[in-house]
């Protein structure tokens, strides 16, 4: 039988803010275009929860077949998701999950596990410092799920794997390389010994690296990030950057679309559809393509 055409709406978190999201969007559109049974409605919430909720309303209004949502905030979107659920539209959450309270209303989650990512970064840090040292953390923008989860995963795991590594201070770098560079400059003034820096993503990590290099202290410090960026990958190749977490936006986007189609076609899908985000260091970087962002 001829497969019917599905109209799938997606509301993304904040496309302009970083390359990951942009690449994700491109990959999603490409995947949707490749599949002639899919008509995609691609929206961007611009980081604003309220706008995302309005977009969900608009999508319900348009009576799409399925909604994919990249939550700007895991808790705040729950009622809107519930509304879509009540309207009989299956909701697939992508990239970062919504709060537990909303699990009843979604068909599936597809994406990376940020808590695990944070934990893996802690393990990397541990490795890099041989289990002993003083470190600082530069976290993502306060109040955003990814930032919170990665920090939590890192902070919970660190004392488990190496109790002798001391996290001295955490300040937000707002996913912004320049801001992170500024924060690191102040850290460098403040602390005579810094053995490691954990940054919520490589973009910020490279900012911290910039600051340390300018102060001539980069050699003493191990940099660990997350979401491996091209600049992080290169710095790793040069041996300036210890490690990161490899996460491909293309995998992320394709997994989301596939999950949505599986749901629409009535296949059985797991509630939590994590795709793997492995550790990447100089030692194993050859196994990975250089990120395109």
């Amino acid at each position: 039988a001829q497969a019917e055409t599905y109209k799938i709406g997606i509301t993304q978190n904040n496309v302009g803010v970083d390359s990951y999201q942009t690449t994700y969007e491109k990959a999603f559109i490409a995947a949707a275009e490749e599949n002639e049974n899919v008509e995609a409605v691609v929206l961007d919430a611009g980081g604003d929860v309220a706008r995302q909720i309005a977009q969900i309303q608009d999508l319900i209004q348009q009576n799409v077949d399925a909604i994919i949502i990249w939550p700007t905030n895991g808790k705040a979107v729950v009622p809107a998701v519930r509304k879509a659920h009540q309207a009989g539209i299956p909701v697939i959450v992508t990239n970062s999950n919504i709060a537990e309270e909303g699990f009843d209303f979604i068909a599936s989650f597809s994406g990376p596990d940020n808590i695990t990512q944070g934990a893996r970064s802690a393990e990397l840090m541990c490795e890099a410092l041989d289990g002993k040292g003083q470190i600082v953390q530069i976290s993502g923008q306060p109040g955003y799920t990814t930032a919170i989860e990665r920090a939590k995963g890192f902070e919970d795991r660190l004392p488990e794997v190496c109790p002798d590594v001391e996290l001295m201070e955490t300040q937000p770098g707002d996913w912004n390389r320049e801001k992170s560079q500024r924060v690191m400059e102040s850290f460098l003034v403040k602390y005579d010994t810094i053995d490691g820096v954990y940054a919520g993503d490589d973009n910020m990590g490279v900012g911290a690296l910039n600051a340390a290099k300018a102060a001539g202290r980069a050699g003493d410090i191990a940099f660990v990030g997350a979401t491996n960026f091209a600049v992080g990958y290169e710095a790793m190749a040069r041996g300036e950057y210890y490690g990161s977490i490899y996460q491909s936006p293309v995998d992320d986007a394709e997994a989301a679309l596939k999950t949505a189609l599986d749901v629409l076609e009535g296949k059985d899908v797991p509630d939590l559809n994590y795709f793997d985000t492995p550790k990447i260091t100089k030692a194993n970087m050859d196994e990975f393509d250089k990120p395109v962002f």
Partner: protein
């Protein structure tokens, strides 16, 4: 007679070009998008604009006063967090749905108190409202993060978000609330002594002082009003979402000011009205909704919105220029 009423209408329209513009984009979206012209969608537009709209009502008063309030976005976040979090407190456990009431009351009170604080500082120190509220914009956001410990809150009680999604007759409750407050603020501004004094204080502060109007307390009241509206917007927004996040309301101040100025309120004070502000809010709401429905890519939405803002202003200027007899200054 008919002729003069028609002329009066034309004059009114040239003085409030925003309404002409609304008709224009309304027609445009109705013809170019199948989902736009639909009662449900109109309700969506009203609900979606109600957040910015409520704040803009208060902002109109403050701006007519010759002041400005940049802290509204942060107040939205604070009030939303309070409203959502407090209703789940243990002390209200036995209250059932009624727990929403003290939570909302506390949220609204926080807005009024912060407004009073802004107003009091402006009054007593004489520091420009721009600086006072710019400080508050940063500081109140700090309060939000302290209170929420960076967490988002989620209303366990779906009655709260059901209220946000409920209807009064054919209209969504939030839209009705917005319309009611629009009318109330319009009456306040045009019919009451306080409202009239708002124009006096902004139009000519010396004259107001000389006439014995107590400018300081007067301005403080208007700051409290905008604080109240920002808090109310936080409450309605959080009831739409059934949740609150500490980053809620970022950039709102800019959009509120934009809508208010589009509606004809002068930054220098002394001029403006609620009907115009309502138009300004609606214009932005329709544009956003229409472009969403038409799936204009996000990047282009920014460019188009920016250009349209300027175009409306340009139109206004063209319509209201007195022609050749104007002095070339």
């Amino acid at each position: 007679m008919a002729d003069t009423s028609k002329n009066a209408f034309v004059t009114w329209l040239t003085r409030n070009p925003i309404w002409g513009f609304i008709v224009l984009i309304f027609a445009f979206f109705s013809f170019s998008n199948e989902y736009f012209f639909d009662l449900q969608n109109f309700q969506n537009i009203l609900v979606q604009t109600s957040t910015i709209g409520l704040i803009a009502l208060g902002m109109t008063l403050v701006m007519i006063n010759g002041n400005i309030d940049l802290s509204v976005g942060a107040v939205v976040a604070l009030a939303a967090s309070l409203a959502v979090d407090l209703q789940s407190w243990g002390v209200f456990a036995a209250w059932g749905n009624w727990a929403i009431l003290p939570a909302v009351a506390a949220a609204l009170a926080s807005g009024i108190v912060l407004g009073a604080l802004n107003g009091f500082i402006v009054w007593k120190t004489g520091v420009d409202a721009f600086i006072v509220t710019l400080g508050a914009m940063i500081g109140v956001r700090g309060l939000v993060f302290i209170y929420t410990r960076e967490e988002s809150f989620f209303a366990m009680n779906f009655a709260y978000s059901d209220f946000g999604a409920s209807s009064v007759g054919p209209l969504p409750t939030l839209a009705v609330l917005f319309l009611l407050f629009t009318v109330a603020t319009h009456l306040l501004l045009s019919r009451t002594v306080h409202g009239r004094n708002t124009y006096a204080v902004g139009g000519n502060r010396d004259a107001a002082v000389n006439a014995g109007i107590r400018v300081g307390p007067h301005m403080m009241i208007n700051f409290m009003i905008v604080g109240f509206f920002a808090a109310l917007a936080g409450v309605t927004l959080s009831s739409q979402m059934g949740a609150a996040t500490p980053n809620l309301g970022r950039d709102y101040e800019l959009w509120v000011i934009t809508a208010t100025v589009l509606g004809g309120t002068k930054l220098t004070g002394g001029a403006g009205n609620i009907i115009g502000t309502f138009g300004g809010v609606l214009a932005i709401g329709i544009l956003r909704n229409g472009m969403n429905l038409m799936q204009v890519p996000a990047f282009y939405v920014l460019v188009i919105l920016g250009m349209i803002l300027i175009a409306v202003l340009f139109l206004d200027k063209q319509l209201n220029r007195r022609g050749k007899q104007e002095l070339k200054t």
